[in-house]
C-alpha cells in the first residue's frame, strides 16, 4: 500500500535521523581508526582517508596499544580501576540495600526523617565534601589507598542507590515478610534469603549504574588518589596523558579506547538493566 508519495514524504525524516547518527558515530569512529594508525600516518592524512581502502590491513598497527598499556602504565591503571570499582560497587549496593530494607519494612524512631535526609543529600555536590575530608584522610593514611576511595564512592553513591532500592523493596508484597516473620526468620535471614533474591533486577540496575559511575569517575580519584600514581585508575592516567602528551594522538586515542573498553562491554551486554535504572530514577511508574 505504500505509495511513492508517502515514501517521498518520509525522506526528510530519514535524513534528520541519519544526520544525528553520523554526528554521534563519526567522532568515535575517528578515535577508533586513529588508534590503529602509525604516528606518521596520523599526522600525514586525516583518519577518514582510511575509508577509501578500509580492508588494507597493512596500514593498521597495534603498537599504540602496546605503547599505552606497557610504557604509559595503562595496564596497571586498568587493574587499579577494577580494584577500585568492583569492591566499591558491591559495597555501596549492599550498604544501600541494607538501609533501604530497614527504611521500607522496619519500625524505628525517626525512620521517615532519616530517610528524607538520606535522599535529600543528593543535592550536595561532591565539591562540598573534599576539603574537610582530605585532612582527615591524610591523618588516617587513607588518601592514596583503595579502602579510602571505596568508602568515598560508597558514600557519594548512597543517596541515589538507597532511594532506588527503597522504591523497589518497599513495593514488594507485604505477605512474604509477614509469613517469614511468623516462621521465626530473623531480619538478617529475611534480607539474604528473600529480599536479595527477589530484588535482583533492581540490584542489577544499581550495580551497573554504580560500576559505570565509579569506573568513569575522574574527580573523586583526583582528590583522593591524585598524588599516588601507582594506584591511579584509567581515567586519571589518561587525563594525565592529555596534559603531558597532548599532541601524541596515537597514544591518546589508544588510551581513550582502553579506558572505554570495559564500560562499552558492560553497556552493550546489560543495556536493559541500565535503561531500567535510568527510568526508575526519573519517571514515576
Amino acid at each position: 500500500m505504500t505509495s511513492w508519495r508517502s515514501v517521498l514524504a518520509r525522506i526528510p525524516l530519514h535524513v534528520v535521523i541519519i544526520a544525528f547518527a553520523l554526528l554521534w558515530l563519526l567522532p568515535t569512529l575517528g578515535l577508533l581508526v586513529t588508534s590503529f594508525r602509525t604516528p606518521s600516518d596520523i599526522f600525514g592524512s586525516g583518519w577518514w582517508t582510511v575509508l577509501a581502502h578500509p580492508f588494507d590491513f597493512r596500514q593498521y598497527t597495534i603498537q599504540n596499544y602496546i605503547g599505552v598499556i606497557y610504557r604509559q602504565g595503562l595496564g596497571r591503571s586498568f587493574l587499579n580501576s577494577l580494584l577500585i570499582s568492583v569492591p566499591a560497587t558491591f559495597l555501596s549496593a549492599f550498604v544501600a540495600a541494607f538501609a533501604a530494607f530497614a527504611f521500607a519494612w522496619m519500625e524505628f524512631p525517626g525512620r521517615r526523617a532519616l530517610f528524607m535526609l538520606v535522599v535529600a543529600l543528593m543535592v550536595v555536590p561532591l565539591q562540598m565534601t573534599f576539603i574537610p575530608i582530605l585532612p582527615i584522610y591524610r591523618r588516617l593514611h587513607l588518601s592514596g589507598t583503595f579502602p579510602g576511595i571505596w568508602l568515598a564512592h560508597t558514600a557519594y553513591g548512597l543517596p541515589l542507590t538507597t532511594y532506588l532500592l527503597h522504591s523497589f523493596i518497599s513495593n514488594l508484597p507485604k505477605d512474604i515478610f509477614d509469613s517469614a516473620s511468623i516462621d521465626g526468620a530473623s531480619p538478617l535471614r529475611i534480607f539474604f534469603h528473600i529480599v536479595v533474591p527477589v530484588s535482583v533486577p533492581a540490584l542489577a540496575s544499581v550495580l551497573i549504574f554504580q560500576f559505570l559511575w565509579i569506573w568513569n569517575d575522574l574527580l573523586v580519584a583526583l582528590i583522593y588518589l591524585g598524588a599516588t600514581p601507582n594506584v591511579a585508575p584509567v581515567t586519571l592516567t589518561v587525563a594525565n596523558l592529555v596534559t603531558n602528551r597532548g599532541q601524541n594522538w596515537e597514544l591518546l586515542t589508544a588510551a581513550a579506547f582502553v579506558s572505554a573498553a570495559l564500560p562499552l562491554v558492560v553497556f552493550f551486554s546489560l543495556q536493559r538493566y541500565f535503561v531500567r535504572g535510568i527510568l526508575a530514577g526519573s519517571i514515576k511508574e
Partner: protein, 295 residues
Amino acid sequence: MRTGRWQPWLFVGPALIIIAFFLVYPTVMTIVRSFFGRGQELFGPNVQFVGLANWKYVFTSPTMLLALRNNAFWVVMFTFFTVTFGVLLAVLLDRVRYERIIKSIVFVPAAISYVGASIIWKFVYAYRAEGLPQIGLLNAIVVALGGKPVGWLIERPWINNICLIVVGIWIWTGFCMVIFSAAYKNIPRALLEAARIDGATEWQVFRKVTLPLLGPTIAVVATTMVVQVLKVFDIVFVMTNGAYGTEVIANRMYKEMFNFFNYGRASAIAVVLLFLIVPFMVSNLRRFTQQGVTR
C-alpha cells in the same frame, strides 16, 4: 515487620555513619571553612578567620565572574539542546524501523567517561597550521569548503565554550532520549490517532498533544540536566583546564584547592555550587520524597 529494638539500627547504621562522615559533617564544615583563609587544616595554626573575604572574591573577582558567566552559558545551551534533541529523537525514532540501532548509537556516550569523550572531541577539534594536512574532522571540513583552519578550543569568547558544551550535549542527549522515548511510548496511541483523524497536522499533534503530555517528564529531565551541568568539571579540566576564557565553577574550585592550596576560597566556591544546585534539586526531591515512606 516485627523486629527487635536494635535490629533496625544494624541495618541503617552503616549507611547513616558513612553518610554522616562523608556528606553531613563536610557540608557543615565547608560552610564554616569558607569564612577562613588559606591553608589546609581548619584549626591549624596558620588558618585565620577572614570574614567575608572569600565571598567577596567569589562574587567580584574577574576569574570567578567569568566562571559564573560560563556556567550560566553552559546551563542554557546544554539544557536546551539535550532536552530538545532528546524529545526530537524520541518522537522521530518511533516512526522508523531501525529505531533500536540508532538509539544505541546515540546512547553509547552515556557509558564512557567524560575523559574518553573529551579526547574523542579534542581530536575532532584538532588544529594544525594552514597548509599542513588537517587531521581534525572539523577543520578538514572547514578547509575543504575553502576556509582557514580554526583553533576551536582557543577562539574566545564563544566558539571555544560552545565547542566544550557540544561535548556535554553529545554525552547526555542519549540519556534524555531514553527517558523521553519511554514517556512517549506510554502515551496512548489512540490519543494521537484521534487528533490525526480530526485533521490535525503532524506538527499540530506534536504541539497540542505530545508536548503537553511530555511536559512533566521534560520538567524533570531539564532539572536533572541543569544540576548535572552546574557541576561540569571533567570536560573543561581535560580539554582546556579553564584556559582561554573557558573557566567554570567546579574547575576553579579544584584549582584553588590543589594549585593554590587556598582551602578557604575553594570552600566558598563549593558553597556557591551548592546554593546554585539546591533550588533545582528541590523540585525533583519533592517528587522523590512523595514516593518515599508510604507504609
